[in-house]
Assembly symmetry: C2
Homo-oligomer: 588 residues x 2
């Protein structure tokens, strides 16, 4: 066992020097400033008190610094995971109750355990089943739902719901009761943030500011909005005019908490925890890989699971909520020059200081400001052109994307993901169950063989060469039987069928039995079955099978060998059992 693999901190801590320290400290200061309003906002999005967001940005960062493999990933509460938390916890407890807080802790713990166990069992591949189109559709839908859910705060009205339909209905009824000052703050912040995103960076660049600082100043715009609206609310007494504010936030370090609840609660939250884990992991790994690649570094996805898992476990024991690696903050961390995960640890210290000292200032922060920052952040995740792009490339992928998007909007986050994953698996299996195959003929004068339907090629009525463009496994084994037997039934003078296997990477037991059946049925019909271009690993396994003994024909190294031998009746192939490893392996 290599301790450096399981404790990636050992890879960088021993060589940690002054230069890295100063860079990490600078990055930590910048990320801390950015993270304070984000933490508050995402806690609110999850239906939790604002301090929970701060707590979730302390211990998890320390855990990730020890166990995570990305040098620059910044973990903490993120928009999509907070939305999923609200949806899951909202189904087991009323918002604002102690049970709601407790359930959020259980969700974080469950998610942490799932991630850690997946990492230790090296099950990171499970995240692959969330295909890009499904993730993309899901993020877009989540962005729309989150934006819609925050509208009530901008309007200063009550509304609730976990999907777009519920939210729209609920909002429609309550819009007339909007609060003037709240709406002014909300729209003002929205306009300011939008303008900052759109025009601030170009303006700064024109003023001669270097690109990186310009980018970071732009990203600090929410801080400015928070400061200004908080001061305005305090100075003008806007809270007395109906502007909802964050209110008293207890000052102090995160409490030690023990996630509890009965087994029934754990079971109810399990599916949500699994989906949160997978979605969070996929997002985090893709950010981590992108940043690592810029410096030719590597992240280890299985160890990343452990890193994120321990972060969530840490969150659950310190009054937090489910966390994962965030896109925007990681990019800021990277751009600010973070060298090692120590930057994350320093950020944790920064947030802890904020939790100790800054909470009195937060009391007058208008909720409309937080809502506006959330809306602007999540609308940048909404990628509707992706639908068109994906549609143009692949109908099948676009169907999975639209299903995820539609079901998430209409029915909620969990159903949306499950629908997308189910549909993409079903479509994948459907297409591999009807693999592309082609009857090929010889390009005159060459050793090349091509599709008879696309090219002018030589054929022989006694001989059919079928090229199968897919591995043979249970989902397409019977399709192969159908294809071959149809071929035999259609061509009465047929004496030989050659399966050209250059694209066959695997033949599983079902396909092997289908080949046996095909061989036996062709024998009954007096047609011999041959194989050509069988790959080395495939041939290794075939050699000791009953199919190999029963094969009526031969195994040829190349399609051309088969063509020559079967047309001219020369003996170029080998009996199946006698093929040596080297000779059967095709040099592709």
């Amino acid at each position: 066992m290599n301790p450096k693999r399981y404790f990636p901190i050992l890879q960088w801590l021993p060589g940690y020097g002054r230069l890295a320290l100063s860079r990490d400290l600078l990055a930590a200061v910048i990320v801390t400033i950015m993270l304070i309003p984000q933490s508050l906002a995402y806690a609110m999005l999850a239906g939790l008190p604002p301090e929970v967001g701060l707590y979730a940005s302390i211990a998890p960062l320390l855990a990730y610094a020890v166990f995570g493999t990305s040098r620059t990933l910044a973990v903490g509460p993120v928009a999509v995971v907070s939305l999923m938390t609200a949806a899951a916890v909202g189904q087991v407890a009323p918002q604002g109750s102690p049970e709601y807080l407790g359930a959020a802790l259980v969700l974080a713990l469950l998610s942490g355990l799932i991630l850690t166990l997946m990492g230790l069992a090296r099950l990171g591949f499970l995240a692959n089943f969330l295909s890009h189109p499904v993730i993309s559709g899901f993020i877009t839908a989540s962005g729309l739902i989150i934006a819609a859910s925050q509208l009530k705060h901008v309007l200063g009205v009550e509304a609730s719901g976990h999907n777009l339909l519920e939210l729209a209905t609920s909002l429609a009824g309550s819009v007339p009761g909007f609060n003037g000052p709240t709406l002014a703050i909300g729209l003002g912040v929205l306009a300011f943030l939008y303008a900052a995103r759109r025009w601030l960076k170009p303006a700064l660049l024109r003023l001669g500011v270097a690109p990186r600082p310009a980018d970071m100043l732009t990203k600090a715009a929410p801080i400015l909005a928070v400061l200004v609206t908080t001061l305005a609310t305090w100075g003008l007494g806007l809270d007395a005019l109906g502007v909802a504010v964050v209110g008293t936030v207890p000052a102090g370090l995160p409490p030690l908490t023990l996630p509890g609840g009965d087994i029934g609660l754990w079971r109810e939250l399990f599916m949500a925890a699994l989906l949160i884990s997978l979605v969070g992991f996929v997002e985090s790994v893709s950010v981590g890989q992108t940043l690592a690649a810029k410096r030719r570094q590597r992240i280890d996805p299985d160890q990343e699971l452990v890193g994120l898992g321990t972060s969530n476990i840490a969150a659950s024991f310190t009054g937090g909520m489910p966390v994962t690696g965030g896109f925007a903050r990681s990019v800021v961390n990277f751009d600010a020059g973070a060298e090692t995960p120590a930057a994350g640890a320093f950020t944790a210290v920064g947030i802890a200081l904020a939790a100790l000292l800054l909470t009195p200032l937060i009391a007058y922060l208008p909720i409309a400001t937080l809502a506006a920052t959330i809306i602007v952040a999540v609308l940048s995740l909404v990628d509707l052109p992706a639908i068109k792009r994906t549609w143009a490339y692949s109908r099948c992928d676009a169907a999975a994307m639209l299903a995820t998007l539609g079901v998430t909007l209409a029915h909620g986050v969990e159903s949306g993901i499950l629908a997308g994953v189910g549909l993409s698996l079903a479509l994948h299996l459907y297409y591999t169950s009807r693999p592309h195959s082609a009857i090929v003929g010889r390009v005159p004068g060459t050793e090349h063989f091509r599709n008879v339907q696309r090219h002018r090629v030589e054929t022989d009525p006694r001989l059919a060469i079928l090229r199968v463009d897919e591995s043979l496994y249970f989902a397409n084994a019977r399709y192969l039987e159908d294809t071959v037997m149809e071929l035999a039934a259609r061509q009465p003078g047929l004496e030989h069928i050659v399966l050209a296997c250059q694209a066959v990477n695997v033949i599983d037991a079902s396909a092997l039995e289908s080949l046996e059946a095909i061989n036996a049925r062709l024998k009954d019909a007096s047609v011999r079955l041959h194989l050509a271009e069988v790959k080395g690993p495939v041939m290794d396994r075939l050699q000791h099978t009953a199919f190999c003994q029963a094969l009526t024909g031969q195994v040829f190294l190349s399609t051309y060998d088969a063509w020559r031998a079967l047309r001219d009746n020369t003996a170029l192939g080998s009996r199946c059992g006698q093929v040596a490893r080297g000779t059967a392996e095709i040099p592709t």
Copy 2:
């Protein structure tokens, strides 16, 4: 629309002649004799009155003659489907109640509708997900459960259960109360049938009987057992000594029945009906294809679904039970010389006559005799060596087989199939999510490239050629990212990475985005990405994508072209968007 496709009867009826008529009639007589005890036995196995088995062997055969595409398949109640029927119906109604009969009709109707709709929607490929190992494990487990469930009839005791554990427990408690005369009949028939199977055919062959008649006489042994034990019971009054007999069976043609029940019942039976449909279809199609191939005929799997579906619908309206194509009876039908589905129709007439005239004789038939015929029939389905055979070929397939076998024995038929299908899908996806790939180098002096780990080949520190042996799709897209980025991180002097794509049949949208990410990350790391040997259809789709515009490297026709160009800095490849269809297509 081609009416011959949807009404296959039109393919043979217009040309039906005297020769075919005489052959079909002979086959029908033989199959009828064989089918009478089978129908009674399988109805009993399903927990239904014996006449239901006869009814299920009349109308369904007529429907299949019109809609089925196999010339020789014989449909009716079969062992595995009857077991599944008992398991499903037993969960919604107590055996012996009118509700139990009604539920069996609903199950047949549902199964018929599912099959017919699947056929019309050409969804026959769904049956592919029952892989050979799953089917094999399921049939073996079913055979063991059925044999165990019939032991009580041989012993003359009460016992019940839908899996091996329940049955064993139940039997263990009731064995001491066995009935002597019943046991004598049961063991006698078992010994006789076993002996007939083992020694009768060789003996007949030695006596000069031709193989086919010898085979058929052997298969008629159950009839002899039925006749002798029925006469003995009647003559010796064994029923008064506690030998359970079939009892009064109403004489007459099948009643017209209307499957009813509330929507809740339909919903409860839906999953069972789906599994019965799939299992029945898979078994039936494999028999049908085997027999068709012997005469170079074809069956159309999608139309077969319609044939079996209408048979089940017919069963549900005529007091029957779920049916499918049976293996033993189809082989007998074929061997007896059946030429067309008319043989099936004549068999239906034969069974109808039996239902009208023979029922008084059946009253004294001992149930132990039927149980013994079932036990001998199903034990021939138990194939334990298949486990060893499959294990030797593929651990993965063996795992699916053992899971199906184990869960079916321990928990019942539905869980068993679902476990097997789930596991085989998961394993398939797991393996394709970690596709085989190899760094290849040039075999000196040739244009061939081989795995650097297996062969002594030329390489270049500035150049890495990665051959991917699998289509690129969502389940392995991220694995590809990992593999490529690891390669780039490991080899510091690297300038070019070439993906050799000869085994890549599809690149889906997820894989495309991964390729985009790989390209962008490699660009950040100053490594150029190239493609080689991209197949025509794959290149067609890639050409209009953003990836193609962004690709830092080139697309080469062959790996050798890439090697030459990148080592010598000559321009042999093309910019991605400019590759013409013809030139990018590889002649494999």
